[in-house]
Symmetry: C2
Subunit: 116 residues, 2 copies
Amino acid sequence: MLGSNEVNDKEESVIKVSVLYPNSSRCKFDMAYYLNKHMPMVQQKLGPACKRMAVEEGIAGGAPRTPATYVAMGHLYFDSTEAFQTAFAPHAQAILADIPNYTDTQPIIQISEVKL
Amino acid sequence: MLGSNEVNDKEESVIKVSVLYPNSSRCKFDMAYYLNKHMPMVQQKLGPACKRMAVEEGIAGGAPRTPATYVAMGHLYFDSTEAFQTAFAPHAQAILADIPNYTDTQPIIQISEVKL
């Protein structure tokens, strides 16, 4: 919570790594493969450092009859940026090499701190 | 889960409305106001239709020493797109009018279906 001291903020922080797949009219995204093959593989490789995963499929933009900006979004939660980097680095090549098996889009990656 | 029938998929679906605030070197985002004033006001106006909220602050991009694509992200969860629209429409003006109080960025809105 805001207002608590810095030490507690650090101890309690959660890091969310978001993988955002830009949408386009011709893009391919195999959600079944992503849910049933890719994400379980990622969880297995990252191990217990990855505390939680979330996946969403874009269905619409904010304005009526506009497409979603992202065809899909995947999120991985860690205790710290260092925990993410330590878990991810040894498996980065294998994880990234699987992306063409379910999509032809180039994902945007963002690291965020969970505030609420 | 994939493979279950369509009726169950629909009954169990959760909709996530993401409000993504693009980052720039000069952009302003008052996270304290967003967490302590804006989001509680949104929750109060949307009422029980809004099942859950989440907020993240962007800290980095995926590549070393790159900035986050979004300075902040807010997420609202509903049972359906209709539940969101019904809850949001009467309060849209008041909610949108509060945005300049915490940021000068123009958010991107995306509606997604939670798959995992």
